[in-house]
Subunit: 364 residues, 2 copies
């Protein structure tokens, strides 16, 4: 899996074209960062109202299985990257045969499956919550006995923002829980009585160099990230440990680009890895206004074969997502000193949909 | 000329479309700022390789006199703005009859003509270098006698980056100088033995509020801006005076958007206005990385009828233009701590062409 990073690749020239799979706000912010560096972008997305379409000149609106469209896309770009981890394996394989795809799609096989991911992390000697493979209702019964209650049953694949998971408390009927997640292959994870949730956004370059942004503390609401604060209220030792964990994961993957590692910080000062996102991450949005370089630019630098920048934080930072109708609050934020407003250009407001975010930098 | 600003206009919704006349780096950076706020942009430019085309989905490549193209452009956008001051008057008039154009094109009549501009500034009681109207070789002779040597002969219209001007020293033949500027209507300005050049970038909103960025000190090379430093090495009193001058000009114009006022700071602590740029300005590029809000976002906020933001500077800042082949140095800057690299996506490198810039923020 590390082969990709060992092949020296010439750095892209500034007038090169970067292909981005996915047209949501992450693709949009990646393309904006690429534009600052002189790159052109071509966004590929099946959704005609993709927010990223509005800010690039070349777009392909087609299904991820449309090999003709993928072929033309591959021919037009110098490198392909993606804004989300659920890129279909066939799409990634098809493209990788034609043009460099970074980060290496082989990594997706690990991060698309919670069980494989947890085994990978545990195999690095990094702690996670106790977990068990749940392939059937019978497995679930045994897993609950081993792990205890409360525990969380999660589908192995395609879960995000709390979708595809159910908490098994005292009194929860395992069969009902199994039905609720759709009877798919699952993982059961021990419920972690964490004190705080934290994440590390890390970039790794072609040359194996790693730059970590400061550890971010995250608050979720209805399983969706609501607020990130930097720096996280961790001891220096814990913060250093969190960064080491992210760096270890990036190195073991032979990763090229930005990834995020979500962690639980326990009372005892222990860190457990919750999950890995092989992409730019919502908990790194504060870097756009709060640091000398953003996670989006670091990702573009990495996949272009350019050197990473050393991030310097401007001060204490707080990022708040505008979810659903909260986006209507943007006017209020526009007048708050030190606050930057970001709107994603999404036409339709839906409950739970990330419509924008605001960042407040408390200057040193 | 102030009528525009007195008409209350509803603020644009975030999914509105902003039309930008001109597709150079200023249009490009305006469009990137608009994208952060959720706006769509449509760029109109006669040049097929306009850098701003690459980062917007809707473009019109047509002559500024193409009324059919202008008509379609006007119908597609909610407001029109421009990246340069030499928008043909007919173009502005044609568009203004169809869609709001901001800043008010009437202001261009002042800023497109050095003589009218100087008279406007002087009429506000703001000091300029001594100047004289030069309509013929005979006028030139008289003007030289009045103003003395050295002096600078400048065409009244369409000069930028030192184009259309010649210095009249001891021994310079006035007739030769007159021929050198093409025998056009000119202005003769006394040569100012300035200690430093400074500029103020100021934004004025619909509501008459003004926000000035910190005074910037500028160094030119071959008449092209090479380096800007913030804050300028001026006394607090002089800096406050510079900001007052910019604010006065913005208010008297009934301006909506960002303008820049270039000034000479004399040894005696006196400030003379050199010229007004009715647009975002190269000496404000540092705001992208060095402040809580950029000049580009302030301009977009203003023309959208949104409130201005109060700019907070992150520290001492230095911006350096990458001109012509200097752009090849970008690799060196990529590895310098605290340095942000901006490349404009221009394919052809030409001597004197602004290809990008780098900003270094020295954190507080």
């Amino acid at each position: 899996m590390t082969a990709t990073s060992l092949v020296p690749r010439p750095a892209l020239e500034p007038d090169s074209t970067i292909g981005i799979l996915g047209g949501g706000q992450l693709g949009r912010m990646l393309a904006l960062a690429a534009a600052r560096l002189g790159f052109k972008c071509h966004v590929f997305s099946p959704s005609p109202d993709s927010p990223a379409f509005d800010i690039v000149h070349r777009v392909t609106c087609a299904d991820y299985g449309d090999t003709q469209a993928l072929d033309r896309f591959a021919a037009d770009v110098d490198v392909v990257t993606y804004e989300f981890e659920n890129v279909p394996a066939d799409t990634a394989t098809f493209l990788a045969a034609r043009v460099p795809v970074l980060p290496d799609p082989a990594i997706l096989a690990t991060t698309q499956d919670r069980l494989v991911e947890k085994n990978f992390v545990a195999g690095l000697g990094i702690r996670t919550a106790a977990f068990a493979d749940v392939a059937s209702p019978a497995h679930l019964q045994a897993a609950i006995e081993r792990i205890g209650r409360p525990a969380v049953l999660k589908t192995r694949r395609f879960g995000y923002d709390g979708k595809g998971q159910v908490t098994i408390k005292n009194g929860t009927d395992p069969d009902a829980a199994w039905r609720e997640v759709g009877g798919q292959p699952c993982i059961l994870e021990a419920f972690v009585p964490f004190e705080r949730e934290a994440s590390v956004v890390a970039a790794r370059g072609h040359d194996g160099s790693v730059e970590c942004f400061d550890v971010t503390e995250n608050e979720h609401r209805d399983h969706i990230l609501k607020t990130s604060r930097v720096p996280a209220a961790l001891s220096d030792a814990d913060a250093a440990q969190a960064r080491r964990i992210a760096e270890t994961i990036a190195q073991k993957f032979g990763y090229v680009g930005v990834l995020a590692v979500e962690m639980f910080a326990l009372r005892a000062g222990e860190l457990l890895v919750n999950e890995i996102a092989p992409r730019v991450h919502n908990s790194g949005h504060w870097t756009l206004d709060g640091a000398s370089v953003s996670q989006f630019e670091e990702h573009i630098r990495a996949i272009a074969g350019w050197p990473l920048a050393k991030p310097i934080r401007h001060g204490r930072v707080e990022m708040t997502n505008l979810i659903g109708r909260e986006v209507e609050d943007y006017r209020r934020y526009l007048t708050m000193p030190g606050v930057a407003v970001h709107l994603y250009g999404k036409a339709a407001v839906r409950p739970g949909r990330k419509m924008g975010h605001v960042t407040r930098v408390f200057e040193k």
